[in-house]
């Protein structure tokens, strides 16, 4: 086979491969997975096209640092009680610093702090020592906090079996978590509940109750009994408060001992959440319920009473939460209980939710804009450059197919800005051919023979085209590096589009000219 034959074969094979990858996207998933020939994965649609919720959750790691300081403070006070060498009159955590007031010159406290290897002294006055966390410890605390939050949120949202299909929970930067839930699988409110609920479950014996907080307060004109507080039960439907309870501040038992929680139904077919304890929890729960028969047991989640059933008999390993919830809410509550409590509070910092209707709308509109853009450009180029314009248009079509093919190969995500990138590529892709054709025309005008003009045209413009495209490629890379979601989508298509358009303009059209007019003598080049 001649050199031209090989080149033609290689190029056709490349284009055919990418056409195949592009076309595979239009076949539904079932068929694709079943067929051994078709690729399993292809182009993915961004959340803005298929609809979905994108959230960036900030983790309050300062809170984790505070918790660590409080932990160290408690340890100090405990030790001071036993060790006469360590004399402390007071220790508190305020404004993010641990303030210790020693009774003596503070030498004991200082050596204790040195031994702890966690604290560093920031200020020292008579009778007042201020400590913050050692830098390394602070790092460790933050790192551990992030891991815990990630684990809990993964269990709640992206668990492969129990979670929401195709959802993603990933770490973003030092103190953020990115949560993505595609499609209309869950509404915003439910996601709020799954993300932000601390999930701290407590069991408390009810001391007193009334219809509302005011009535309950009126019963204790001199203030609430020490060690108690008022907690309300709310209707989840309209957040109306139903009953006010007087409960001990400290829980009698917490959800730390839970091994499982799942949705069940009571005799009226209302959803309830049933849970089971591990052996330690079962023992404590048995003691608690055994000692308080005929009392009411309040089941409190994040300072809100879910239900307060009366204890009829001693209960062991299993219990249940009744409440006025829907099956969905019960399911979410079970998920939250199973995943354990969120050790550090989180706050939503960014949200981008796209409804499925808008997603579909965007696809249709993007598709329409691309097709019309393509038609206008092809019409223009063919009208202007005739047959050569036809070659350029063929190359342009091949360029689009290759662009989609490469994106499918890498399982890239197509977003609405990505579609914009494609349309822009279409517009700019012709540029290289315009440069070449204009040059060929110039050479023809200066009296060169058509075949020589073609050769000179391609050779002289090669570096111009490379320069122009490399600089655009640089901007695409910068966009990708510094952009967030939507901008990155645009950068990806722009970068891939540059590669394919250079290939199609320089290689494909040149090959077409080699085939026709090829080596035949040609009087008039249609350009």
């Amino acid at each position: 086979m001649s050199g031209l034959g090989w080149r033609l074969g290689a190029v056709l094979a490349t284009v055919a491969l990418f056409s195949f990858l592009t076309a595979a996207n239009f076949i539904d998933e079932e068929t694709r997975l079943a067929s051994p020939v078709l690729p399993d994965d292809g182009l993915r649609l961004g959340l803005d096209l298929q609809g979905g919720i994108h959230r960036v959750v900030g983790v309050k790691l300062e809170e984790a640092e505070l918790q660590e300081l409080v932990f160290l403070k408690d340890a100090l006070l405990e030790e001071a009680d036993e060790d006469p060498q360590l004399s402390v009159s007071n220790a508190v955590v305020e404004n993010g610093v641990l303030v210790v007031s020693p009774r003596d010159d503070g030498a004991g406290v200082k050596s204790w702090a040195d031994d702890s290897r966690s604290l560093s002294l920031v200020s020292e006055e008579a009778g007042r020592l201020e400590y913050t966390l050692e830098d390394q410890v602070r790092q460790d605390v933050r790192e551990r906090g992030m891991e815990q939050v990630l684990e809990v949120l993964r269990l709640r949202i992206a668990d492969p079996i129990q979670g929401i299909p195709d959802s993603v929970v990933t770490r973003q930067g030092d103190d953020r978590v990115l949560v993505q839930v595609p499609g209309g699988q869950i509404d915003r409110d439910r996601l709020d509940d799954l993300l932000e609920v601390t999930g701290f479950l407590e069991f408390k014996i009810v001391q007193d109750l009334a219809d509302n907080e005011k009535l309950l307060n009126d019963r204790y004109p001199t203030g609430l009994p020490p060690g108690t507080k008022i907690v309300s039960e709310q209707d989840p439907e309209d957040d109306r408060k139903l009953t006010a309870y007087l409960l001990p501040e400290e829980p009698d038992l917490t959800g730390d001992f839970l091994t499982d929680a799942r949705v069940a139904f009571d005799r009226q077919q209302r959803p309830i959440v049933s849970f089971s304890f591990n052996s330690e929890g079962a023992r404590r729960f048995g003691e608690l319920t055994g000692a308080n028969i005929n009392e009411q047991l309040a089941i409190v989640l994040d300072d809100r009473v879910y239900s307060a059933p009366a204890i009829r008999s001693r209960i062991g390993a299993r219990g249940q939460i009744e409440g006025r919830f829907t099956t969905e809410e019960a399911r979410d509550l079970a998920v939250v209980l199973r995943s354990g409590s969120l050790p550090i509070p989180v706050v939503i910092e960014e949200e981008r939710t796209v409804g499925p209707a808008l997603g579909q709308d965007s696809i249709t509109r993007g598709y329409r804009a691309s097709i019309l853009g393509l038609i206008v450009i092809i019409g223009f180029v063919v009208g202007y450059y005739r047959l050569s314009g036809g070659y350029a248009s063929l190359a342009l079509a091949a360029n689009l197919v290759m662009l989609m093919g490469i994106m499918s190969l890498f399982e890239a995500t197509l977003t609405m800005p990505g579609i914009a990138g494609i349309v822009l590529t279409v517009g700019m892709a012709v540029d290289a051919n315009v440069i070449i054709f204009e040059r060929i025309r110039e050479e023809l005008r200066s009296g060169k023979a058509p075949r020589a003009a073609i050769a000179t045209g391609y050779n002289k413009t090669f570096w111009t085209i490379m320069d122009a495209n490399i600089t655009t490629f640089i901007t695409a890379l910068v966009l990708f590096e510094f952009g967030t979601g939507p901008i990155q989508g645009f950068a990806v298509t722009l970068a891939v589009g540059i590669v394919t358009s250079v290939f199609s303009a320089l290689v494909l059209t040149r090959l077409m000219f080699s085939v026709h007019p090829g080596t035949q003598p040609v009087e008039q080049l249609s350009i």
């Binding site: 803005d48 960036v56 900030g58 309050k60 809170e63 409110d189 709020d192 957040d239 509070p345 706050v347 939503i348 910092e349 960014e350 949200e351 939710t353 808008l358 709308d361 965007s362 993007g366 804009a369 853009g373 450009i377 223009f380 009208g383 202007y384 609405m416 800005p417 579609i419 914009a420 349309v423 822009l424 279409v426 517009g427 700019m428 012709v430 540029d431 315009v434 440069i435 204009e438 025309r441 110039e442 005008r445 002289k460 570096w463 111009t464 320069d467 122009a468 490399i470 600089t471 655009t472 640089i474 901007t475 910068v478 966009l479 590096e481 510094f482 952009g483 967030t484 939507p486 901008i487």
Partner: protein, 352 residues
């Protein structure tokens, strides 16, 4: 052979450079002035806030004032409710607000106790009450609209917290700077260092004019516009590089030349390419602008402006900058002549 620019066309572009520069400066000045008077509108991407787009069911008779009422009642900062989309029949609205302030709300769907609770929760979490409330208040507003106006579908909800907003701004400025520096380095490497400033002046010019147009017409800057500005950098450069390339080629061909003539000749020779490419790219972008829908409109609009400005600047800004630098610091024959002339004048001054 069809030609939009007949061969042999010779327009004295460089001769009109002073007018062009005056026009560009005037637009930039108008932009700065407009920015000083009416301010620059930044979208929630950069300053934080919430945007909700809703589409009411076809059967719902939307009472706009009731809709405004619901939003206004919720005690949010700078609430606005505007019609959205190009199709009036579709009953689409865009609801925007900056943030929510805790307390002082008469009868939002959010009750007093809810508010107190949220404020308390926010307090516990470190005090960004506005941040916390915005995320929750969306649900309250949605409930309120459903009660007071009618059934609808949420098209999109965008909420950006203040911290994210300022980080996005920073990243945007950083991206622009790095892109410009890398491009500068590339041109200095591929051409000569005297070519690079001209290209960068043209880049800054294009981004500046596009921004100025946005400011003058009170259009909003958001992430999509930023993406477009960066794409304009790439596009503008395309144009400039192609003309530069031709200038370099023409400089190599003639050992003795008049720089002004070379520049004019190069611009003219590449003129049909410049126009053709601009037309095709503009056609594609206009398709996006008119058919792409609301989501992509800001991007397409900024791109369209940028393409027009970019085409203009490669001719009227990049080439004159090169002319200026070459005559001032270059080693071309006429640069040397100009330098000699300057020296002679100086000598004469010194003598006098």
């Amino acid at each position: 052979m069809r030609e939009i620019v007949p061969s042999g066309t010779h327009i004295d572009f460089l001769g009109r450079r002073h007018i062009a520069i005056a026009v560009s400066l005037a637009v930039l000045a108008a932009g700065v002035l407009a920015g000083a008077i009416q301010g620059v509108k930044f979208g929630i991407d950069f300053v934080g806030g919430t945007e909700m787009a809703v589409r009411f069911d076809p059967g719902v008779d939307v009472d706009e004032s009731a809709l405004r009422n619901v939003v206004g009642r919720c005690g949010v900062d700078e609430p606005s409710v505007v019609r959205y989309g190009d199709d009036v029949e579709r009953k689409e609205f865009l609801i925007k607000f900056k943030g929510a302030e805790a307390g002082e709300v008469p009868d939002c769907p959010l009750t007093e106790t809810d508010r107190a609770e949220l404020a308390e929760k926010a307090e516990k979490q470190g005090g960004d009450a506005g941040n916390l409330e915005s995320a929750h208040i969306i649900s309250r507003i949605q409930r309120g609209i459903r009660n007071d106006v009618g059934e609808y579908e949420t098209l999109r909800v965008d909420f950006v917290g203040p911290r994210v907003g300022s980080e996005l701004t920073e990243a945007g400025v950083q991206a622009m700077t790095i892109a410009v520096l890398l491009i500068l380095a590339y041109i200095a490497f591929r051409f000569s260092s005297r070519f690079a400033p001209g290209a960068v002046v043209a880049l800054v010019h294009d981004v500046g004019i596009t921004c100025a147009v946005f400011v003058i017409f009170g259009l909003e800057f958001d992430l999509r516009v930023l993406a477009a500005l960066l794409a304009i950098l790439g596009y503008s450069l395309n144009d400039t590089i192609i003309i530069y390339d031709r200038i370099r080629e023409n400089m190599e061909i003639r050992t003795k030349y008049d720089l002004l003539d070379v520049l004019n000749r190069s611009v003219n020779q590449t003129l049909s390419r410049t126009l053709l490419t601009s037309v095709t790219t503009l056609a594609a972008v206009l398709c996006l602008l008119f058919l792409g829908g609301e989501v992509i409109r800001p991007f397409a609009l900024a791109m369209a402006i940028g393409i027009v400005v970019g085409t203009y600047s490669s001719t009227f800004i990049a080439a004159p900058t090169l002319l200026f630098l070459e005559t001032r610091f270059g080693d071309s024959p006429d640069a040397k002549a100009a330098a000699a002339k300057r020296k002679k004048e100086k000598d004469r001054e010194r003598a006098a």
